[in-house]
Amino acid sequence: MTKFNAWNVIKNGLNGQSYWTRQWRDPEPKSIYDVVIIGGGLHGLATAYYLAKNHNIKNVAVLEKGWIGGGNAGRNTTIVRSNYMMPGNHEFYEHSLKLWENLSHELNYNVMFSQRAHVSLFHSPGAKDSVSRIYNIMRLHGTDAELWDLKTLKKKIPHLNYHNSRFPILGAAVQKRAGNARHDAVAWGYARAADTLGVDILQNCEVTGFTRKNGNIESIQTSRGIIKGKKIGFAVAGNTSVLWQMAELGNLPIESHKLQAFVSEAVKPLLDQVVVYGVGGAHFYISQSDKGSMVFGGDLDWYKSYAQRGNLPMVQDVAEAAMAIFPSLGRIRLLRHWAGVMDMTMDGSFFICKTPISNLYLNAGWNYGGFKASPASGWYFADLIANESPHNYVQNHNLERFEKGINIDERGAGPDPKLHG
């Protein structure tokens, strides 16, 4: 693997770009690995990387049924933020944001992380009080958070609809260190860095069954043959229940829902921040990609589904929200829209935990928030697999929290997965 640096860029520039080597190998599966991670998305690849980097466990395979980064890694709006308030969550997401800040250097791969600020609008004194409470909690824990009054907001983003009499904009809660990144680069960066440390990335390798022995999972049947792992990790958010039932483990506190995202044609620089608008049942978030496209999304489709395609009522909802807040988008054309399948959990928080099978570990339940979580998710999932006990930050992110009554419900929406947006 050729390192990316100024010298190699110049050298290859003079040699017709002919000296670059493959980004990662395409190895044949070995018969046994120390750790097998199922799922070659951002979380699985990050886990493999941190297993090798932080814990020196390098005999690791990542199994991916399609191609890496082809699932939810490529089906999100790439927003990175850490505006969480529940114990465990805020430490976890803040650590994730800190990892994002150094990720390009860490991986020797430009993930184009852009800390352009996350601007969450509020429209009533009640909403201001509520968001002030959350952002004050963030400040108490050392995360950056601030409130912008209307004057500041108008100066920063002059072209929002400030004349909406039904939902007047009163100001915004802002996290300046938040922003977005390039999703493909994150998948490729982690894959390349993990591969360099010896991790085998096995694409087109679909898991079809498990063989149990003495209570453990002894081997995994895949479309590329039988693979054994001393320890096995699931990182397949969206399809967690399918694998869970394949391992005959019963039910999970998860429902799979689909979430749509949209990309418009490219326009000249229009929006410098990530803007979030949420009132009266609408939920809308928008940013502009480096290519110039407006990237935006809204709510779930509101019914359970494993289909990776969105339905039209939500397209209309999102378009209406866009017009309510950004009337200047009225004539912009939509290029693409897609849906990803989310693990929506019963309290809106994730799982990084042990399972009833002693050599199986679970990473699941990322709801709307999987993209921003991926570095810390990999970090703490690798930590759990290597040390066999959860870090303090994720000690309650397990399947037993519901029975114990210690749900981590940021939104206070109760046990209805579709409401945890």
């Binding site: 399809n239 999970l252 429902e255 019914y303 359970k304 589904s305 494993y306 009522p313 519901f402 029975e403």
Partner: protein, 94 residues
């Protein structure tokens, strides 16, 4: 758009309805263990394929329905009133 054939109103767009959830949950008795209640309230089969689920015709007759629908293709096999006695009434009216 999914079209749901409401037994009371006829075939309508799914945007008239609100999705409820798994229609096969049996709630345990009030004195059942915490484990049983946790299982009923928080744990789901999350079927990939055909499942029975509840929908509320919230912008129509406001009746609750049990719909058998595929979570992969969204094809609907059957729609019935939630309450078995109402099912009989619906059949008698045909």
């Amino acid at each position: 758009m999914i079209r749901i054939n409401c037994p009371y109103c006829g075939e309508r767009d799914h945007s008239e309805f609100s999705y409820g959830g798994d229609a096969t949950i049996n709630y345990p008795s009030l004195d059942a263990s915490e484990k049983e209640w946790t299982e009923a309230i928080f744990f789901r089969k999350n079927i990939k394929g055909f499942q029975f689920e509840t929908w509320h015709h919230s912008n129509g007759c406001r009746m609750w329905l049990v719909v058998e629908r595929s979570t992969v293709t969204h094809e609907i096999k059957s729609v019935k009133p939630c309450h078995p006695n109402l099912q009989k009434v619906a059949e008698n009216n045909k």
